[in-house]
Structures are given as C-alpha cells and as structure tokens.
Point group: C2
Chain length 220, copies 2
C-alpha cells in the first residue's frame, strides 16, 4: 500500500467516515476560521489543515477560496428562500403566518449561526477582499414577506388600519434584535420563545386598554 493510498483511506473511508464528510468538514473549518480571523486573514492552508485534508481537496470540491465562501452563503440562503415561499402560502391568519415565518427564520438562523457571524463580519466589517454577496437582497426579501402578510392582515380586518410599513419595521426590529442578541450574547439570548413573546407584544401593543396611541389620539 502506497503512502498516498494509506493517507486517503485513513482520512475518510478507512475510518468509517462517509465520503461526504470531507466536504462538510471543509465548510465547518472555513466557517470557524472566517469567524475568528476574517476572510482575508484566513488562508487556504489553515482551512485544509483544520479539516485534516490537503489543499487540492478544497480545490476539488470548491473552485477556490471564493468558492467555499460563496457556498457557505448560498447554503444558508437557499433554505431561507424555500421558507419564504412556504410561509406565504401556508394556511392560517396573518398573525399566525407572521409568527410562523419569523420563528422558522429564527430557527434557520440559529442552525447556521456560525455562517451568520461570518455574514455580519463581512457586511459590517472592513473590506476584506471577499467576493460580493447581496446580503441586502435577502434582508429586503425578508422584509417584503412580512410586509405582504401585514397588508393581508390589514385587508381582512385582523390588524388595525395603519401604516403597513411602520408595522413591518416593528416586526423586523424584533426579529433583528433577537438574532443579534443571540449572536453577541447567546447566554442572555431571547431564544425562539422569547422572540414569540416579543412579537406578541407588538401585536397587542404596550399601552393599557383605552390608551392606544400616545399623541395623535389613536389611528393616523
């Protein structure tokens, strides 16, 4: 048995690990390193070393460093895309749909929180030479989905008449803050249940009965 063969067997099949695990290990290593050291600060060598494979393996599965980065981004967002479609067409009241859509989005976020950290780092951080990825498009897509549901709720009398845009912002703000707290302070994170409760607050309002509206005597 040659040296290469031995190494190949040992790293994958030989140890009882399924073939696909190599690809997954690379994605995980890349996520960890991009998070800790940034895109530019991470070298291909480090990624493959952490995944316990050699360099050509990375180039085999992904075209190059940009490729593995884009794959990370796309994987998360493709699942989000299905979510949007499913949630809009689901049965139930507008409020139920909104709650379900937000909960599912938040679950997806938690499931891919490592990738989310990389996204935030790229989006807000300094230029790092990472290839362009249209994060804004997805934020917009999220917001538009909520807005549609809010408008639906207003139409069918479920929600009060008011500016759908403003209502949308309130909901987006809640989801946003739940995600960001989870990102930075997982130990005090709202969690799925917390997000649910905050959304409930937004639906119901904070003001005591009979005191709706703080300045303009109610509706605008």
């Amino acid at each position: 048995m040659g040296k290469a063969e031995a190494a190949a067997a040992g790293s994958g099949r030989g140890a009882g690990t399924p073939d696909g695990a190599v690809r997954e290990r690379l994605l995980k290593s890349a996520t960890d390193l991009f998070t800790r050291k940034g895109y530019a600060g991470t070298t291909v060598r480090e990624i493959v070393a952490a995944a316990k494979v050699t360099k050509p393996v990375l180039y085999y599965y992904f075209r190059n460093k940009e490729g593995i980065y884009l794959e990370l981004m796309k994987e998360g967002f493709s699942r989000f895309d299905s979510l949007v479609g499913a949630s809009l067409e689901a049965p139930g009241s507008a409020a139920e749909k909104i709650l379900r859509f937000c909960a599912r989005s938040f679950e997806l976020f938690l499931d891919r929180i490592g990738v989310a950290r990389v996204m935030y780092s790229i989006y807000y951080g300094p230029p790092q030479g990472a290839p362009f990825f249209d994060f804004d498009a997805y934020h917009f897509k999220f917001q538009e989905a909520i807005r549609r549901l809010v408008e639906e709720g207003i139409r069918n009398g479920e929600f009060r008449k008011g500016d759908a845009g403003d209502m949308t912002w309130a909901i987006v703000g809640a989801v946003n803050v739940a995600m960001e707290i989870q990102l930075c302070h997982p130990e005090v994170g709202l969690g799925k249940e917390g997000l649910d409760r905050v959304l409930d607050v937004i639906f119901a309002g904070i003001a005591a009965e009979g005191r709706k509206g703080t300045r303009k005597g109610g509706r605008r």
Copy 2:
C-alpha cells in the same frame, strides 16, 4: 519650544485656522479612514495626510493611533451618558420619556454616524488589533434605561401589565433597526419621524381592537 509643540502651533494659527480645527480635522480623517479601510488597514501616515498636518501633530493631541481611536469612541458615548441621566429624570409620562429618550439617542447616532460605522465595523468585524472598548456596556445601559421607563409605565397604569423585558426588547428592536437601516441604506432610512411612528405602533399594537393578543387571549 519642543518639536511637537511647534508643529501643533504652526499648522493651525499660522493659516488663520482656529486651533481646535486641527484636532477636529484629525478626528474626522481618522473616522473616514477607519470606516473605509478598517482600523488595522489605516496608517497614521494616511490620517495625518488626510488632515493636512504632520505626524507629530497627531502624537501631540492624541498619544498614538490607539489614542485617537479611543477618543472617537469616548466622545460619542460621553454625550450618550448625559442623555441617559437627563431622560430618566425628565418630566412627562413614561411613553413621552421613552419617545424622547429614543429620539435623542437616534439624533446623537445620526450626528455621529461616521463613528457609529467604525463601531459596527470593530464590533462585528474580524479582529483588527484595535484596543478594547466596552460597546456592550453601552448597549446594556441603553436597554436598562428603557426597561426602567417601561416598568415605571406599568406601575402607574400607563402600560398594560405584562413582561417589562419583552416590551423593552420590542422598543430596543425598533430603535436598533432604525439605526441600522440608516447605517446601511440612508436613502430609505426611517429617520427620526419614522422611528417615532414605529414606536407609536409598538405602544398601540398592531392587532385590531378587541383582538389583542394572538394566542393567549390577551394578557399573560
């Protein structure tokens, strides 16, 4: 007269520029460059060149690169500190105080939006060797101020009985999203008025009258 002193004096007064302007120019240059190229990616040489002064001038006003960075952070937050104190003790209903506090905070944010970009970049971005600054402490301070006011509102019957924490998150989320949109998409930013309206939505709720609460039939 020492070398640094001479440079400090010479660059300002001689050209008829008020003394303080040099310091301000340096802070502005640093903000711009830190935003565009990150902390690590910005050199002291670039900062002084952009401010049209020489290197010793920077070292005269601020000890070093870390010094000018920390000064940027502190200037914004010291104004915020006064805000917190003033807003909590101001007269008016809890809702009024919350609205005023959020509006003032948002105005301060707009006024220092360049510095805010640097903060986001450092906070979410990859390690850049910037000296530690406790951003979390200020986020916490903001949240606690809101929470106090919410609790006050609940106590005096202005707000409905409910989880003050959840109500606080809803409000913080709205302010947060207003700030972040302004940061990333100033052209569609809510602005001060938009934030006001969204907060109003949170106070009043989204649900139509008689339909408050989406699952538990109202209060919890």
